[in-house]
């Protein structure tokens, strides 16, 4: 199920971008800063925190297990310390952290972050793709960030799904013109490309997630045809 509260640690440009992109997806957003001056200058309500905090206050105010933490402190060492501190206190908290490079990304993962965004690698990936594969980059960007009518969706196989118990390769996907099934995620949390040798013999089970690309209307039609719905569950994340 979707998380209800976003906890953002660090009040900087990254925090601003995250807030503007995810504010509609959460019931509440709580921002924490190490710097006292942020309390006065902020457009949002900012709370002060200390890296040596025991986080007892947060526990009282927020349903931590149903929250998502974004660790975006610009100092890598502080960000790692914050992540390890949060993980030590909250085993179930989903933590997304930013890292300047691969080295600190590994440390953040060791510190307990569920997902790390390595800034340098991500930026360089985007730049390289823009230069070397401009068309695919443009299309993927449009699909992923919904800049066009094309959308990517993840559809969970329910007990009512027509595909349930069918072999993946035996399904005539051409019946569902308009959408393309890219991959399937099994219960082992591994995403498999639709034409992989593993996926070839895969029997679709309840709980599998299909990743499909298509126009909104076609995806809705696909959902209706197979009797499954789009679904987001953080436990289905392939970290």
């Amino acid at each position: 199920m979707a998380k209800s509260t976003a906890l953002i640690f660090g009040y900087n440009k990254y925090a601003h971008e995250i807030i503007s992109n995810v504010k509609d997806k959460y019931r509440a957003i709580k921002i924490f800063s190490l710097d006292e001056t942020d309390l006065q200058n902020s457009a949002y309500e900012v709370e002060l925190f200390d890296l040596s905090d025991e986080w007892s206050d947060i526990h009282q105010d927020v349903d931590v297990d149903n929250s998502m933490a974004f660790c975006v402190l610009e100092d890598t060492a502080q960000n790692i310390f914050l992540t390890i501190s949060l993980r030590a206190h909250f085993k179930e908290l989903t933590i997304i952290a930013i890292a300047s490079n691969k080295e600190s990304a590994n440390k953040l993962k060791m510190a307990g972050a569920n997902k790390v965004i390595p800034l340098v690698e991500t930026t360089s990936d985007i730049i390289t793709n823009m230069l070397e594969k401009p068309i695919s980059n443009k299309i993927l960007h449009a699909i992923l960030y919904e800049e066009s009518d094309l959308k990517i969706a993840q559809i969970k196989i329910t007990p009512e799904s027509t595909f349930k118990d069918e072999q993946l390769t035996s399904i005539d996907w051409t019946r569902y013109n308009g959408i393309i099934v890219l991959s399937v995620m099994h219960e082992d949390m591994k995403s498999e490309f639709i034409y992989s040798s593993k996926a070839k013999h895969h029997i679709i089970r309840e709980g599998d997630i299909l990743v499909v690309v298509g126009y909104e209307a076609d995806i809705v039609e696909f959902e209706n045809k197979i009797g499954s719905k789009r679904y987001v569950n953080w436990s289905h994340w392939s970290w």
């Binding site: 443009k138 289905h236 994340w237």
Partner: protein, 520 residues
Amino acid sequence: MLKRWILDFAYYLDTSKSYQRRKRFFYDILENDKNRYKKYIDTFMITLIFISVGVLIREVKFHVNDYLMFFSNYIISFIFFIEYILRLWVSSSVSKVIVNRAEHDTFLHQEVNLFKAFKEILRVKLQYMLTPKAIIDFLAILPFFHELRLLRIFILFRVFKLFRYAKSFQTLSSVLATKKFEFLTLGIFASVVIFVSSVLIYVMEGNNPASPINTFFEAIYWSIVTISTVGYGDITPVSHEGRFVAILVITAGIAVLAFTTSLFVSAFTEKLDEIREIKTIEDVSKLKKFYLICGYTEVAKEVARKLSCSKNNIIIIDENNENIEAAKKDGYTALNYDPGEIESYKKLNINMDTQVKSILCLREDDIKNVYAALTIRSLNKNVFILSLLMNDSNRKKLDFAGINSVVYPQELVGLITKELVGKPVAFEVIHELRSETADVKIDELGITQRIVDNFTTVGDLGNIDYRVVLLGVYKHKKDRFYFNPIDSTLLDVGDYLLVVGYHNFILEFEKYLHTKVKNG
């Protein structure tokens, strides 16, 4: 009348495109190192030089075939003569001198003074003819008159012509030229020591019947052999006075040798970076296509690594020497040039339209990136510029500076978190497709005439047989992407197929598209 005719002819030559084109052509193949044909001309001339020197060596003790002698004496000399004339021709423009004189005199309302123009022509041509290279070229023609035995030795001058073609000789002479003053000082010192010691040894031993030194020439010969620390031993002083002089000369010889060695070493050490830079620039100017990265930052390191993995040539310029050293250590061609200075690009001596794929301004400073972009734009309007944006409020400034594409890392973080929060699995799938390490990749396959001849529609492609997902077709002419196109969609030359699949399967599919025989 004659004057009028000469002036008209000079103006005609000066404005004639075909004449200028021909002259330019000969200039390029003779003097322009960047010309692709020059190396063939150079190789041809070097071969001729070796043939004529080979003939000279053979001739010392053996009879040389008459035809070969004829070839060496006449044909090669004639080719060298033609080369000399062509070099003299392209060294300066006679018509330009006359036109300039005519315009100068007309402007001052004077009668055009052709005499002054001819004087100027003579001056510039003589100036060229008296350069060491031109003198060697001239002397290399002289064996043509080989009947004069003295002139036959001039064949040796053909060997000196090698200097013209071997770059390392030019580099060596340019390095040593930087220490002209030191070498002159050393030369004077050595000459004084040789002269004084020669006089002394001659005075001390000239009249001694036991001494082998009988003439002043022998005294000079002994001094030079001793001071150079060669010491053949064929002539040695016999008197105590003479041996005392020998001690002085030997001591001075050690000093001269040490001084000479240190001069060579210091000249090369000082010029080493410059020599390397010149070599790097030469290499860069020969590259057909490359990415130019301004600033070797963390992002630039990753971008350079990824681009070079796809077999792209990367050139890095940065004003910070530490960054340049790091780039060199990482194996890239890097130059310590400021990306914000026009001079940097001029020194690089590149054609931005044809050689540069894209210029990437990847410094983590918007001001520096804007400055570099404006500098590049002032030189070239068309080259694709991509820049990092560090502060969103500067986006418009970057656009205004002529940057084609901007990457704002903070925005990426926002977009990524949005997708991560909303569709984590889908995000992972797309992220995997983009990742360089993933097995499954997204690729663009260009549609060529050959493919269109064999596969008219999307339905003919048979991508499913190759386990490749056809995401869509990008129609180049319409600049539109057709997602999941129906089988009857026609393919046109210039379109791109966007396919997803295992890298090897995509390669197989691409191979199949290109090799399928019509109706086969």
